[in-house]
Symmetry: D2
Subunit: 265 residues, 4 copies
């Protein structure tokens, strides 16, 4: 029997964490949002994900037979020490209000693990604007947004892809934040989902990338104020993505000066 | 435990089959080749693959834990009845001298299994010019060739792809037939291997394609007069490709008239 | 000054042609549609495109400075003689009710011109189910449909692509037939447009493909009963696509036995 | 008549510039190379490109009818002021020994011009390891190297691409530095050339990328000690690439909060 895939579920864990609610409120209101908005972004989120989004995702992945740990921003080294990463096949990433608090050194460490080590990386929702995703994409990773609790419908575009396993031809998020095109990322190596939004936009919601020895999957659903990570189809996609992103155990990348394999005379 | 992947190893089985040697010789000499060439293409091949190439490939795949059967051109329905295909997750295809003998109806059947059913298809070497591969690609699938028993070196280009599992950064075929660019196929969804040839050519030797619900992998090595399907790296690639090409169990393709999901008023 | 791009605008020209209205009506009603539907598909279309869709498209392309001719199904060789194709850089294709009436020999001829000769091919709307498009794609090219005169919004996904020249970030077709995913085509080399439909579907509406020396662009808009080919954004896309699809004058495809470029000893 | 494409040819201009020879020698010898090597990398290069590589490339592009200027590292703002970039459609980039001397602010400026403004970027040879290319790719952009003045043969892989215009099916660089796989870049949107090297390696030598509104082309040939930028086929590719990379004038990227286009009630 092969060993279980080892997953580290990373979460910013500020919206759901009462010890960070003052910081979140201050940031939200500095962006020009109302106090009501700030309350929804703190107490509101905490009501939906009492112990943090990472807990809900990690519990699900554990039930699927993966070996799961969690890590959060406020831990030393954001919980992503070399020892933890040595023991990680796939890292999932959710962040939003505190992308700037992630240490550049840790970003480099994660990037190296993906690119050179083959670790899988699954970037969720507002993680599109994390340092690690922007660095690996090389683009702004910006997009359109709207918070109107509107309906999203994710259509499967590549039915033979392992991330589509067990899904219907589309599934709905009954209430969500809208993300709309342009989504400024490189054209994905494989586009698995395209979203329809009630308000008139479309979005490339499931994007697969090879980066060096590693694989990256961006998955759109997941707004913090709504119970989206409890939805079975969403959890199914994350499960599928973990299996897809697990290291391939292909050859290491060997660079630099190279003696000729053939006689040059 | 999940059930083993069910593989059907298809082989033209004329070059290795004494009952077809007269046909092969006649075809080879009609192409303008010498009698020596025709002998190498019959008795010569038979010495390398006494019971057929399919036997060697099937034995290896069985040892990997797959549920394997074989099928050949001269069987009724070429061994590819609906019952056999109902019991097939991945079909491997080797053909060369008798592509024209494959019944169009069977080609359509296989194509439908890939496109609509999600069956994987692994096309080997001279199978590039089979009806089924040409049909699924939409191009001529022609290429350059040279039989000079020269050296080939396959470089891994996408190190994180599951088909690269367990491989070194390159491996060599000590003596092989050359295939050179242009290889008239659509740009692959993922390019896994590029070959270097001693005589000065390059070739896209490992090409992945999604086609509907199914996946197709083209793998170049495998000339019939040389013991290439005994080589461990070649067998490793075929094993990896079977795992990659196995059905994803994604949604079925639903076409035609579709009632609105939203109110159109 | 370089010579103008030579465009042949091909049209089935049955829906708009009174001499074919009996045939169209009979086919429409054989599909199980009402007599009203059959009238809309004949007299109705003829009111929108009095001299045929090809006339409207050709007039526009002439004004852009291209050298334009038209060709239709009922002409000898469907208007696509070798002499005409010798004088064609880009062929646009609209067909719907009479795909089966296109001679296989002409399909092969067009395919060879694209694949080996580098002729561009622009496939419009219901041309998705033409023999030439299905042959070049290798898939069923099927999709979902609905005729409810609903709104479509085409979003530009690849803003740096020449086919996006001069367009806003999205444009609308106020009333159209819906085409929905799954669209059973290979993942495009470049995806330029994704459509949003009022009824809840999405569609890959602008798809670029290389096929051998040639380029193929599929563009969704264009239902025959609606004045879509008079819309400026639609005509702009077709103009852009003609420029993009024009032959690149790259190397010819040279196949077959190839002497070594290097010493093999 | 449309206005000519405005090209800025950027060159590090240290290897060819006697005023920088002491710096180059010191860097080369700090890498552990011999004094002979350092002399070849300075006086040797200067003999090949007396007025700098940029002069040779710029002269050729001027003859093609482009509006050309040059810019070099040692100029204020590296010659890439906002005013210069306002007047640039396509920027070509050659750097090698002094990548670290390029100001991060200028890198950000160029990146923004590509991503948001649609400026084309053509990265030549050792520019693969420039800050601007690494930033836009998101990977290490490392590769294998060997300086043995061996033969390279570039095969055209996508014959219908505009960058292949006017080329034979392959062309040779008689003596060059080897670059070998792995080339740690994202799989290109379009792969135009693959190189064969005498010593046994292959390389993806012509790689096209969309990045936001802009286009990026990486082209391998060009070692500084050899007269490669005088070779007609190499200059032809650069000319073709300028035309391909010129801004498409597609829609601007509009991000952020977006009012609904449809009624959400």
């Amino acid at each position: 029997m092969s060993a279980p895939i080892r997953v580290t579920v990373w979460n910013e864990f500020w919206h759901e964490n009462p010890r960070r609610h003052a910081d979140v409120k201050s940031r939200v209101m500095n962006y020009g949002f109302s106090e009501d908005h700030a309350i929804r972004a703190t107490e509101g989120v905490q009501r939906v994900y009492r112990d943090g989004m990472h807990k809900v995702i990690a519990d699900h992945l554990s039930q699927q037979g993966f070996a799961v740990r969690v890590a959060t921003l406020d831990e030393p080294e954001h919980g992503l020490s070399d020892a933890v990463l040595d023991d990680t096949d796939v890292l999932t990433w959710w962040g939003h209000i505190a992308h700037d608090q992630v240490d550049d050194e840790i970003v480099d460490r994660v990037r190296e693990r993906v690119n050179m080590g083959g670790m899988g990386l699954i970037v969720l929702h507002s993680g599109h604007y994390s340092k690690i995703f922007k660095t690996l994409m090389g683009t702004t990773c910006m997009l359109k947004t709207r918070e109107a609790d509107e309906k999203e419908r994710l259509w499967v575009i590549e039915q033979g892809h392992p991330i589509a396993r067990g899904l219907p031809e589309y599934f709905e998020i009954p209430q969500t934040e809208m993300y709309g095109e342009p989504f400024d990322v490189p054209a994905p190596d494989t586009l698995v989902f395209v979203s329809w939004f009630q308000g008139g936009e479309v979005f490339r919601s499931g994007c697969c990338y090879h980066r060096g020895r590693g694989k990256v999957f961006y998955f759109r659903p997941g707004h913090e104020t709504l119970p989206i990570y409890y939805q079975p189809e969403v959890l199914q996609v994350i499960t599928n993505a973990v299996r897809w992103a697990a290291p391939a155990d292909g050859p290491e990348l060997i660079f630099g000066d190279h003696p000729p394999l053939e006689n040059l005379d």
